[in-house]
């Protein structure tokens, strides 16, 4: 499968051009890095690729067709700040059940303790929350994962744990990954190719 952005442009209301005719391609099985200085539009491109924003001009296609407007989106975005991506009034168990649940095995692989399922989001640390955010998209229906500074807020060991699990899963299920980070060393360790905006 191929996720492609063609000549994508985007501007915020004040007429500030963030993205200008950007092309980007990622295929299943690849891990493509995306790096740029802050403020250059990495997150904006990530959101456009995952269908959270519409480009002002240009096209995003999945194997030639536009991204689906309803139903499970095969392109899933993992945010830099997991606290914002989960409902603060839901218990963690429910967060996982929203996309089909979990098994003892999958919890273990993600480094999630069963007790955490009964906790509220604000009782967990950033690293633990992010594990949940990652686990809920690691399923059969996801074809592409856009990791937008996924581990930037986490310590080195948690970062290594989460990335290793994600890369493992992606390899097994032929999922394409877009890794967005400002950290060169991280991208060199995980990516098959690196693009600059």
């Amino acid at each position: 499968m191929q996720l492609k952005a063609e000549k994508v442009s985007f501007a915020y209301k004040k007429g500030v051009q963030i993205l200008n005719q950007v092309d980007f391609v990622v295929n299943s099985g690849e891990v493509v890095g995306l790096t740029a200085p802050s403020g250059f539009g990495k997150t904006t491109l990530a959101r456009i690729l995952a269908g959270y924003e519409k480009p002002a001009s240009g096209l995003v296609t999945l194997d030639g067709s536009p991204l689906p407007k309803s139903g499970y989106n095969p392109v899933q975005l993992i945010f830099q700040h997991p606290e914002k991506a989960v409902n603060p009034k839901w218990k963690m168990r429910r967060v996982l059940e929203e996309t089909g649940g979990y098994t003892a095995e999958s919890l273990h692989q993600m480094g999630i303790m069963p007790e955490w399922l009964e906790r509220w989001p604000r009782e967990l640390s950033g690293g633990e929350l992010q594990r949940f955010c990652v686990l809920r998209v690691l399923n059969e229906r996801t074809r592409f994962i856009i990791a937008d500074e996924m581990t930037t807020m986490l310590d080195a060991v948690t970062q290594a744990q989460i990335w290793n699990t994600v890369l493992d899963f992606a390899k097994k299920h032929d999922i394409g990954i877009v890794a967005i980070s400002h950290e060169r060393d991280l991208l060199e360790a995980v990516c098959t190719r690196i693009e600059r905006l």
Binding site: Q161, H182, A189
Partner: protein
Amino acid sequence: MKKEPLLSIRNYGVSFTRYEAGLKSRNLQVISSLDIDVHEGEIVAIVGSSGSGKSLLADGIFGILPYNAVLSGEIYYDGKLLTQQDKEALRGREMSLIPQSVNYLDPLKKVGKQVELSVRDKDKKKRRKVVEDLFARYNLSPEVYDYHPFQLSGGMARRVLLTTALAAGSRLIVADEPTPGLDEVALKEVLKDFRVLVDSGCSILMITHDINAAVTIADRVAIFYAGMTLEIASSEDFRGDGQALRHPYSKALHAAIPANGFRATPGFQPYSDNLPEGCVFCDRCDRKTERCLKERPEFRELRGGKVRCHHAT
């Protein structure tokens, strides 16, 4: 003769009593034992993951912990034991905090004006000049002065927050997560400016989760885990193959760095309400013995640094 450290934190602890759903109340020992010294002209980093309790340290130093916090241990500044009143007198003047996010700024005021609040000068023009100079030094274009906080991108926000502390001219600066989101260019600028600050007499205590940033910027690094300091080492110890490191967790951190092999040590940090009786790193350590399970190690001197481990050599 060794000079008295500017800031000295001894066996510091913070706990909370919390009520939760159901009929329970529990006592959370969020910080059990924190020991760190910052000497004049030094940059010291405290490295801990989210959930280790490190953010409360800054609140503790400045006396802004929540009402239900219970403190233990001592904080000394310039040799004097700090009381709550001392903290209130020193903060914003001798000691400044660079907060974690732009949420700490007033969303309705222009950022330039907010930074100006830190400058101690009666002359409005002079105050503005100080701020404009600081902004220029941090590659912030002149119009940023009139921006509101929501208009700042991540990196810009960090730089503006840095200037609030610099504008006050403090001797001790506590920087809470000063580096995430900064690209390499901006990161090197921050490094440079921290160094310049230090060379002109400031001392910096940096709180971060980013071991890379800590090792690049700081002279000494304190590893903070599950509410206690596990090791204090020089940045040099973290470079190269990491053999000079004392604690198994420090070595795990070193090994996990992408450039060093990106090796993940399984397991995670225990919770404040679920701390083991013995060593807090025990369940993840491959060198644990019976003694580790039962007896919590003391923080001792070793090879010029400090470590909390029974087996460190």
